[in-house]
Subunit: 170 residues, 2 copies
DNA sequence: GTCGATTGCGCAATAT
DNA sequence: GATATTGCGCAATCGA
């Protein structure tokens, strides 16, 4: 967790002043640093695929005041984009969080459902046993109405009737 | 979606060469730009608010060769961190993806479980109905034992009742 | 073609 | 001390 100690940067501030800054840069212990958007073309004619014409700071003319970077318009665009980025990231994070929560909910519900299944299964089992018992009782009644060892009935060749197939789907 | 046209940056490359580059920057369509880490102190000893004192590059002494930025060590650290960052982000993204997938799986399983519950419920219902029927039959038997319609043995109307598929797997 | 939304990336601060 | 996370800004790209 945490949450950093972020410092609001005053857009356009050093902007107006900065012009050329070289390496160097002293890092005051307690001070925050601001990244000045210095740009530089990188490995123009790189080895890989995209070949690009190099063209580093071509002597061509630049429109606008003193380069894109200093223009108010540029700054404005940047700021807008920064805002959009922030927003987008927030949403993204929120979404992830929601998804995680959804997982939890679903897990819970799953457990509930499984419990219910267990219960229903048990009930079914009990009922089935009762059925069997009844069948036997009836058989007895029919089988030995008055005689002792006679077993004439047995008509219900139910043999193998109550088979429960314990198949496993999947 | 998308996937940008990212270009591998050769760390330490322009480092040695770059000295001063101002705004400008031409943005070649296919070319990538590298952000040179120019740093600038922001609100140095700022108490809380918007800090007004500028004070860029205070005359304090910096250790190391020619400033932290140019040091090999610095560059190395940066690169290591960049790597770590990349890794971390990858994992983060992967995790989010996994979570999403988990949601899908759980949803599927939920549906399966619900279907099963439905089925079990139906079976239970059938069995119960059978039970009632039997009870009635028995009542009839008891109620009218010597009457004309005595029917001692039509007990096993076991019509198709006993099948249950008690599949429990997973 | 402008503008917001995404995305990858590097930096720096902070956490582990 | 080194790696891992996190917030943030930049730039490129996508999409409306």
């Amino acid at each position: 967790m945490s949450e950093g100690s972020q410092q609001k940067i005053n857009t356009e501030q050093n902007r107006g002043t900065v012009s050329v800054i070289q390496s160097q840069a002293s890092a005051p212990p307690g001070g925050s640093l601001q990244q000045v958007p210095q740009l530089v073309p990188v490995t123009p004619a790189g080895g890989g695929g995209g070949g690009g014409s190099s063209k580093a700071t071509p002597p061509g003319k630049m429109k606008k005041t003193s380069g894109d970077k200093d223009s108010d318009e540029y700054r404005q665009r940047r700021e807008r984009n920064n805002l959009a980025v922030k927003k987008s990231r927030m949403r993204s994070k929120q979404k992830a969080q929601d998804t995680q929560q959804r997982v939890n909910e679903l897990k819970e519900e799953n457990e509930r459902l499984e419990a219910k299944i267990k219960l229903l299964s048990k009930e079914l089992s009990v009922l089935k046993d009762l059925f069997l018992e009844h069948a036997h009782n009836l058989a007895d009644n029919v089988q030995a109405p008055g005689v002792e060892g006679a077993s004439p009935a047995h008509n219900n060749n139910n043999n193998g009737a109550c088979n429960n197939n314990n198949n496993s789907s999947q």
